[in-house]
């Protein structure tokens, strides 16, 4: 069975969670927990950037554990796309880039979306669901 994606988080440049999407049963994560998780990750990402001894700063890109894998893609504008998935999954980076492409289309070109606000665009939901299901 191909390893599955569990959850997608999108965090704005201030550290606030603007989008959560669970692809399988989210038994253990409530809404408030997700918010806390996102802001904590945002801070850790910034700290990791400060701790880097040399070279260009990229922040935390991937966290691997026995039971999960967390991949983070940070855009030049400060938006973080975080994907939580099963350990053996591959190509999470390219998947996150495709989700970024969907974001720039269906969220940013939507006249009813305000920047840095929670994302409530139906088309974006549908497209993300289709993309992850196809993987």
């Amino acid at each position: 069975m191909a390893p599955k994606c569990i959850t997608l988080f999108i965090v704005n440049k201030a550290g606030g969670l603007i989008y959560t999407r669970h692809f399988s049963d989210p038994k253990h994560l409530g809404v408030n927990e997700c918010l806390r998780l996102a802001s904590t990750f945002h801070s850790m990402h910034a700290i990791a950037g400060r701790l880097t001894p040399a070279g260009p700063v990229t922040g935390i890109e991937s966290v691997e554990a026995d039971t999960f894998r967390l991949q983070c893609f940070q855009t030049p504008t400060g938006i973080k796309f975080i994907m939580l998935a099963e350990p053996m999954i591959s190509n999470l980076d390219s998947l996150l880039r495709q989700i970024y492409s969907l974001y720039s289309d269906y969220v940013l070109k939507n006249p009813f979306y305000e920047l840095d606000m929670p994302i409530q665009c139906e088309l974006f939901d549908v497209k993300v669901q289709d993309l992850v299901a196809a993987k």
Binding site: D105, K109, N110, P111, F112, Q120
Partner: protein
């Protein structure tokens, strides 16, 4: 001769946001969008007729509507409209159906906006075309359901003078 879809959609999105700050209801927003489309339509008719170089001026209702559905739609959106239909209940009403209007490609209307359809811009363009071609009409855009799929319908209601003229012409 081709424009980037992204560039157009950003411009359209800004236009919708601009009007949103100046209206209070969704009906007013649709009216403003239609007003913006009106000028585009009037100019499109001149341009497309000129580029075609030597066709006859349309004088019949079915003629002008087919012209809009095929030629104008191809010039504006790159493909003909999905369908043209005459209303069965009223003889002065015609409908142009479009499954996914180009202007709505990236637009998701929030639930609390009701039945707003940004294709009102396209309806305004059709209104401009019909006025320039001397077919007075009221044109509106509606979101309709057809077997669990939503599609956009542009409803054209011709004025009594046009219907009278049509009757005279046979």
């Amino acid at each position: 001769s081709e424009v980037s879809l992204s560039a157009f959609c950003f411009l359209f999105s800004e236009m919708v946001q601009y009007y949103q700050t100046r209206v209070n209801t969704t009906q007013e927003l649709e009216k403003k969008l239609a007003g913006a489309g009106y000028g585009v339509g009037a100019r499109m008719l001149e341009l497309v007729c000129f580029r075609e170089k030597g066709s006859k001026r349309e004088t019949r209702i079915v003629g002008i509507l087919s012209y809009i559905k095929d030629n104008i739609w191809k010039a504006m959106f790159g493909k003909a409209a999905d369908a043209l239909e005459r209303s069965t209940e009223r003889e002065d009403e015609y409908m142009i159906h479009e499954k996914e209007p180009l202007v709505n490609t990236y637009v998701s209307v929030p639930k609390d906006f009701g039945h707003l359809n940004c294709a009102s811009f396209v309806a305004g363009a059709v209104h401009g075309i019909l006025d320039s071609a001397d077919f007075g009409a009221r044109v509106t855009a509606h979101t309709t359901q057809l077997a669990s799929e939503t599609r956009t319908t542009i409803l054209v209601k011709f004025s009594p003078e046009v219907m009278e003229r049509e009757r005279r012409l046979g």
